[in-house]
């Protein structure tokens, strides 16, 4: 226990003193959120330099989507013309609009002209935030309808406290950003294991009277807690400075964020034990993080068609679902199962790490 605590303190100190990790995990997200926030938050900067871009919408102006597209926040970016589907498609293919939004049988999709630029991405992000409950819930509340009507049976009915402020795209981005940051915190664990356990220093640690589980456990705990606290800086920052709405079930949100941290550390510890080559572990874990963020649409709103059904089980996607659900009211059963899967995944990875650690020694 003494050795565990000593290693925990040492590791925490080591990580907080590591300028790269602190820069990546604290400064970088704050800068990104500052930039995104200025573009997306209507509450900090009421005026914006952006000119609204022309968008065609094949939707009922009086419907939920229509209401959403005409609300104050969205109309600062998009100058929406309501039309029929054919006309919207024609405008998009002629590049007369940056995107065409089509609502058909309750499905909302975005048609982009060619590759599309910043405004096209922005349109897709806004529609995404609409689909991802956040803004939809607001619109539902504004139009006096029920979230259930918009999103179907996956969502339970929940009152959103709209008294003080209206959730918007920034709320959506804060979640995406935080989950992405926390997914990358496995780098903390990697760094600690490399400069600690796998180095000459680590060999020295193994000659002391401390037990190996105490040393490994101490480092794992240090990396997890430090990473979580670093994520909390972003959490508090978005909440306090941007007034991002994190909902009323903060413990559930934090539990989910912690699951992502644990998952990331467990993955890195497993790779480290199995491969034992710093460069390779670094490369593989980075690639995995990148892929997970990509398939769960953390970088750009790309549709993968049928594969999306598989990709919703990417750990970060599962975390998204739970967090959005916790904030805006989602399917409780799905949230619970996602959370259980996440923690189980961590356990499996840790066990695999343990097994490969043993195999190496034997």
């Amino acid at each position: 226990m003494k050795a565990f605590l000593a290693t925990f303190w040492m590791g925490s100190k080591f990580l907080w003193r590591n300028p790269v990790s602190v820069a990546i995990l604290i400064c970088f997200p704050i800068v990104i959120i500052l930039v995104l926030g200025s573009a997306l938050s209507a509450y900090i900067t009421p005026e914006t330099d952006l000119e609204p871009a022309a968008v065609a919408a094949a939707a009922d102006p009086g419907g939920l989507l229509g209401t959403f597209l005409q609300n104050d926040e969205v109309s600062r970016f998009l100058d929406v013309t309501f039309t029929d589907r054919e006309e919207a498609e024609r405008l998009a293919s002629n590049e007369e609009v940056v995107a065409a939004i089509v609502e058909e049988n309750g499905e909302v999709s975005v048609i982009r002209p060619g590759v599309g630029g910043l405004y096209t991405q922005l349109t897709m992000s806004l529609i995404d935030s609409y689909k991802q409950i956040g803004s939809a819930a607001v619109i539902a509340a504004m139009s006096g309808k029920n979230v259930y009507d918009i999103l179907g049976k996956d969502v339970s009915v929940k009152d959103i406290p709209l008294g003080t402020r209206i959730p918007g795209s920034i709320d959506y981005y804060a979640v995406t950003m935080l989950v992405m940051i926390l997914l990358y915190t496995g780098m903390n664990g990697l760094d600690l294991f490399n400069k600690g356990l796998l180095s000459d220093t680590g060999r020295r640690m193994l000659t002391t009277s401390a037990s190996k589980p105490a040393l490994i456990g101490g480092m794992f705990a240090a990396a997890s807690v430090t990473s979580f606290l670093q994520g909390m800086v972003t959490f508090a920052f978005t909440g306090l400075v941007y007034g991002v709405y994190w909902g009323e079930r903060i413990p559930l949100v934090l539990l989910t964020l912690f699951a992502i941290v644990l998952f990331s550390q467990a993955l890195c510890i497993f790779l480290t034990m199995a491969i034992r080559h710093n460069g390779a572990v670094m490369g593989i874990s980075q690639a995995l993080f990148w892929t997970m963020t990509f398939v769960s649409k953390g970088y750009a709103k790309v549709s993968f068609g049928e594969m999306d059904k598989v990709f919703q089980y990417a750990p970060n996607s599962m975390a998204h679902t739970v967090i959005f659900g916790a904030i805006f009211g989602g399917n409780e059963a799905k949230m619970t199962s996602n959370l259980i899967i996440l923690y189980a995944l961590c356990l499996v990875l840790l066990m695999l790490a343990f097994v490969s650690g043993r195999r190496r020694v034997a």
Partner: protein, 312 residues
């Protein structure tokens, strides 16, 4: 006996790093382990400290085998590894605290021991600084410090003075001598004869994974050398002096012009008194015995220089 290694074999693939190594360390002694690069010194220490397991042979520490009771035994050992093993971004004090705690030292004892180590190793002024800003000598000293907070009964130092300035080296040697005087058993590996001669009471010479000779510095040099020389300086020697010295038992040659004669004898002839007897009719200005060094003994035993040419 504090350490006993018997018939240790350690192979790395086809390469045999330890080839039937026998090694013992007695309580209270300072044992020097001398050997050229690749002799297997570090490997022997790794087997001893449990970092790697031998393919065959038996290791006993403090009378029992390493397994099972490992933690209790490990507490009695302090290892100063050949390669620096520190947290470079944490302060010197943090490093000492951490390794002390790993051995179970806590509270006021820890605080006192850390302060004591900083003081004796001359690091008090930089206690709050991170080793990445240290000179090579300071890092080496901290590397030693991390092994002594728990007051080990056996201190193992694997080339603790590599690549540092003479002042730091002196500091370290003084320190090791002090520890040994205070009762710590020392196992010291080095490429440097003069360090081993100064610090160690007994020396083992290793080559190609086995111990090839052992004993006190004097025993080693005496037993391995074939010849020893003495130079005798007298005022106005007669030519007959050379002849009479040549006849002394054990003398092989007596050379020299003028007042200095160089007398070469078989090793261990113990004939200095008789040589001087021949010279008593003259005024003896000086006598100098050229004592064979460990370096000579090493060269004779292994046919190798102790250090690679490019190292100094």
């Amino acid at each position: 006996m504090i350490v006993s290694m018997t018939g240790i074999v350690k192979r790395y693939n086809a390469h045999t790093a330890l080839d039937n190594l026998d090694l013992t360390v007695n309580e209270g002694e300072a044992l020097g382990l001398l050997g050229p690069n690749g002799a297997g010194k570090t490997t022997a220490i790794r087997v001893l400290t449990g970092l790697t397991t031998a393919d065959s042979g038996e290791v006993k520490l403090f009378g029992s085998e390493m397994r099972g009771t490992a933690a209790a035994i490990k507490k009695k050992i302090g290892l100063v590894p050949q390669d620096l093993a520190l947290y470079e971004t944490l302060s010197a004090r943090d490093n000492l605290n951490y390794f002390g705690r790993l051995y179970g030292v806590t509270g006021a004892t820890l605080k006192d021991r850390v302060a004591e180590a900083l003081d004796v190793l001359g690091l008090s002024d930089v206690a709050g600084k991170a080793p990445k800003k240290f000179s090579g000598g300071m890092k080496r000293r901290l590397n030693i410090g991390c092994a002594i907070i728990h007051k080990p009964e056996l201190l193992i130092l694997d080339e603790p003075t590599v690549g540092i300035d003479p002042q730091s080296r002196n500091h370290i040697l003084d320190f090791v001598e002090l520890m040994n005087k205070q009762g710590t058993t020392v196992l010291y590996t080095s490429h440097y004869m003069e360090e081993v001669e100064r610090v160690c009471s007994r020396v083992l010479i290793m080559d190609a994974g086995r111990v090839i000779a052992g004993g006190s510095v004097e025993e080693l040099t005496r037993s391995t050398l074939i010849e020893e020389t003495v130079s005798v300086e007298v005022r106005d020697p007669a030519p007959s002096l050379k002849e009479s010295i040549s006849k002394v038992q054990g003398v092989l040659r007596c050379e020299g012009e003028g007042r200095t004669l160089l007398v070469t004898s078989k090793a261990d002839s113990q004939n200095l008194a008789r040589i001087l007897e021949c010279a008593t009719p003259y005024v003896i200005l000086g006598v100098e015995a050229h004592r064979p060094t460990l370096e000579d003994a090493f060269l004779t035993l292994t046919g190798k220089k102790l250090r690679d040419g490019n190292e100094t």
